[in-house]
Each structure stands twice: as structure tokens, then as C-alpha cells.
Amino acid sequence: MTSTTAVSVAPTLHAGETIRRSDRRLGIVMLAPALLYIALLVAVPFLLALFLSLTNSSAGSLEFSFVGLQNFENVIASPVFRRALRNTFVFTFVSQLAVIVLGNVLARALMKSFHGKAIARFLILLPWAAPISLATLGWLWIFDSTFSVINWLLKVAGWLGPGQWYYWLGDPTLGMVAVIMIHVWRMLPFSTVILLAGLTSIPNEVREASAIDGAGLFSRIFRIEIPMMKPLLTVAVLFGVVFTFTDMSVVYLLTRGGPYNSTHVLASLAFQEGVLGGDVGRGAAVAIFLVPVLVVLAIFMLRTSRRAEVV
């Protein structure tokens, strides 16, 4: 606005220092639309979800009445829900464990320079960029009951004898294996790139010094590198967990929660009850069970970011 004050104040201005009043006002004006949008379309719906879970509202009408915790009681009493709750944790835990172990191996392999590294990196990253619904469709075809190429390979390898067959999506255990496999396939590139950033941020001198001091490969990895890249490891795990824990596309497209509702997760069950079944209150109650875990993750994340700022 007034350029004279800008001249006098600007040169001394850097982070953490007082900001001119006109700038502060401009800052609020520029921030307001985004904040307002987020408040109206994230915060309000979030509260509305909590509210709806306490009502008997249904898709057909806008009328409803309060039912207290009835939805939650019904939901917890249902074996399908308990199975979905367990599945959500099993899928998330197993797939993220695999992703972190494999991601460390892969990131380490990608650290070295070799011919065609750029192409290798590009190909390895493909699964993360492809739209999840379409990628899952590709896997649906790979796991097909009659034409599964995996079964063909197992047959050729002699693993499946005559008359033996895997119905990947028709068997609860195999269905869970299939879902976990897709989550690993999708999240591995994401974690690998983050872990790679962590590995490259460790100065070479540290590695050399540990070699001079006689540290073996394992003590170097577990005593030096993993502690040094802990913040990034945390980031990879936290986001991996969030993306897997809240996903419904994989289960919805691969198994529709079947066979016999054995592979549902919280998100797909909420969709089935709240949208397909039209019982909005019950669907909301199922989805609310995502919240405690997300809150815990958010707190972890805040802590990581704060610690990183202090150091």
C-alpha cells in the first residue's frame, strides 16, 4: 500500500519478526476464502457425520429423530462389523509391515548407481500413480476364478496338483491375501521414495566413519541408518497407514466385502450400510470408528513435525 513504510520496515523483516499491520490484514483476506471453504466443507461435514451417527436418518427422507447410541450398540453387536473392524486392522498392519520391510530393501537397492536406473525408478513408481480403481480392476482380472494367471503359474510350477484350484476371491483367507497384496503393491512406491530421501540425507562421512570403526553391515543399518532416518520412516508409516486404513476402493471393487461379508473393512461396510443400504445413521456410526485411529495418527504426526522443527 504505502511504499514508504515498506522501505523502512522491509529490510529488517525476517521470519518470526513482527509483520506490518496492513500486511497482516492482507494476509487474513488472502487466507479467508480457503479457510472458509475448509471450515464449511470439511469441518462442518465432519461434525455432521458425528451428528448423523446419533440419529435414525435414512437416505429416502430428510426427517429423523435422535436415537442416542442405538446405532453404535447395533453396530457393535453385529458380527459383520466386528469382522470388518478386525480386517481393517489386519490389512493395515500386515500390508504396512511388508511395505516398510520391502521399501527398505528397495530403497537401498535404488541408492546404488546402475545402468537404466531412471527407467527402473519410473517403472517401480507406476503403481502409486495409476488410479486405484482401475489398477484394482487389473488385479481383479489377475485373480479371476477361471482365468487367473497366478493359478496358471502355480499349475505349471507343480504347486497346484490335478483338481486343485485357488478361488482367490471366493475364499475368505485367499481374499484377504489378495487385498493385502494390492495394498502392498500400491503403497510400496510411496514408502520407497520417502525412505530413499531418508537414506540420501545421511551424509557419506557417517557411513565411512562407521566402516573405519569396524561396524558391519547389520550394525550399520540398525544402529546408525535406521535411527538417523527415523523421522522419515515415521512419515512413511503414518501416511501409509492413513491411506490403507481409510481405503474402500480395493475391497469394494475386488470382493465387494465377500465372500459372506468376510473381507469387509470399516470404509466399505460404511458404504454398504449408509449408501447402498440407505441407513445413513448406521453407516455414519460405522465410519466414526475410523476417527480414533486417525486422531492418534494426527497426534503422532504433529509430534514428528514439531520435533523436526526443534532439531
Binding site: 523483516l13 500486511d23 494476509g27 479457510l35 471453504y37 466443507l41 500413480a129 489377475i142 523436526a308 522443527e309
Partner: protein, 288 residues
Amino acid sequence: MAAALSPVRRTAAVVVHRATILFFIAFAIFPFYWMVVTSFKQNADLYVGATNVAHNPFLFNIPPTLDHLRILFGQTLYLTWLRNTLFVGLVVVGITLLLAVPAGYSLARLTGRWGERLSIGIFMTYLVPSTLLFIPFSRLVSLMQLQNSLWSLVLIYPTFTVPFCTWLLMGFFKSLPREVEESAMVDGCSRVGAIWRMVLPLSVPGLLTVVIFALTLVIQEFVYSLTFISSVQRMTVSVGVPVALVRGDVYYWGSLMAACLITSIPIAVVYNFFLDRFIAGFTVGAIK
């Protein structure tokens, strides 16, 4: 160090390394390879059944065909879905830029300490999943009479593009030297004028990143689109292909896989060029 290893062990290390890389590449691209093979195989070659050990499904046992592509482009609504997706994508990108550019700049330069806290809060909203919000949104959408309209997606998609893009842009603006605006303001520009004339032209790479991400996030989105769009003509590509290309219990796997391939590969290629910036967005603060 490396010289101390015997040649045999060094060769072994190289072999293990290459084998590891190849294994991971195979795992990553197998579904895409499978899409390619399926898209161009004749049905007689496609639907043989995995019990037939003599028939190798990895290869073209009969010459390839373009029939599945012809069906996809000629007899399905695939192009309509692409158009719908592009429409939603472009409008959402516009809205995202309008909201996220000023907000990102404000958080980077004008709000000081509380802006830093607020920016983390904004980033956190990216964690509120669509699978929690689609139920209240379905109420909101029906209240606003937007059921089965692409405008419902235009309204809702910025809930995930705006927080993330604001965060990315904030990081980008912070990386520009303050002298950029300050010198312009010394020359008599207002702050807004300095942003318009000096900061934005320098921010083209950052803005481009945001455009790409907003667009790819829109193309990838599945849950909201599945919830709010019911007529086949109005579907986006991520829902139309899995939901409407399947007719009854009959899967047209050739056309289906062609649709998956044609949609996924361009996005994946573009996305890859910008991936490092995207990851940097997630890891801000964790590397120091």
C-alpha cells in the same frame, strides 16, 4: 572398501542387486503388462482357462487384434467419461488455484508464527478421509439438489485438493527470496501488485505442480464419484470403467483392460515427473 572384496563376491553382489531390482520391477509392472496383453488378445486366445498348462497366457498365441479398442471407443461411453472427468478436473483446478494460491502466499509471508500452526492444521485436513465424509456429503448434496450432477463433484473435490495444494504452494513461496517482492515494493508497487507482477511469474513451476496434482487427484478419485453419480452418462472415468463397463455378470476384459491402460499410463507418466515435489510436500520438516 569395495577393493577389499574378492572379484567373486563383487560379482555375486552385483547379481543379487540386479535380481532385487528386477524382482521389484516385475512386481510393479505386472498388472500393467497384463492390461497390455489382455487389451490386444483375441477372445479365443483370452478365454482359454488357466487349467490348460500348454497354453501360455503371457504370449500372443493368435495374432493380436484391435477389436477391444474398437468396442471401447465405438460402443461404450468411455469418451463421455473422459470428457466428464476433464470437465470436473479443469473446474476443480481453477477453484483450487483461486483458493490455494492466495492462502499459500499468505501462510508463507504474511501471517508469521500463527500461520505456521495454521498451515499444519490445514495439511491435517488432508487426512480426513473421503470414506468418513461421503455420508454427511450425501445429505448435503441432496439438500442442494445436486444428486447425480457433476457439479456435486466440483463442489466437493476441492476438499482434498485445496489443503494439499495450499501446503505445496506455501513451501514453494517460502523458497523464493523475499527480495523479489521487496524490490518491487521499493519501486512503488503495492504488495498485491508485487505478487501479481513478480512472485507469480517466478512461481510457474510451483503452479504447474499444483495443476498436475489437482488434476491427477481428481482423475484418481473414486469414492465420492461412486456415491453421488448414478447415471452412466454422467460418470467419471474412474467409476464408469469399473461400474458401467461390466454388463451384468459379463466382463469385457479386453475393452476393460484397454480402458484401464489408456487412462492410467498418461497419468502415471506425467505424475512421475512431479513426484519428487509431491513427496517433498509430505516430508517437509522431517528432513533437516
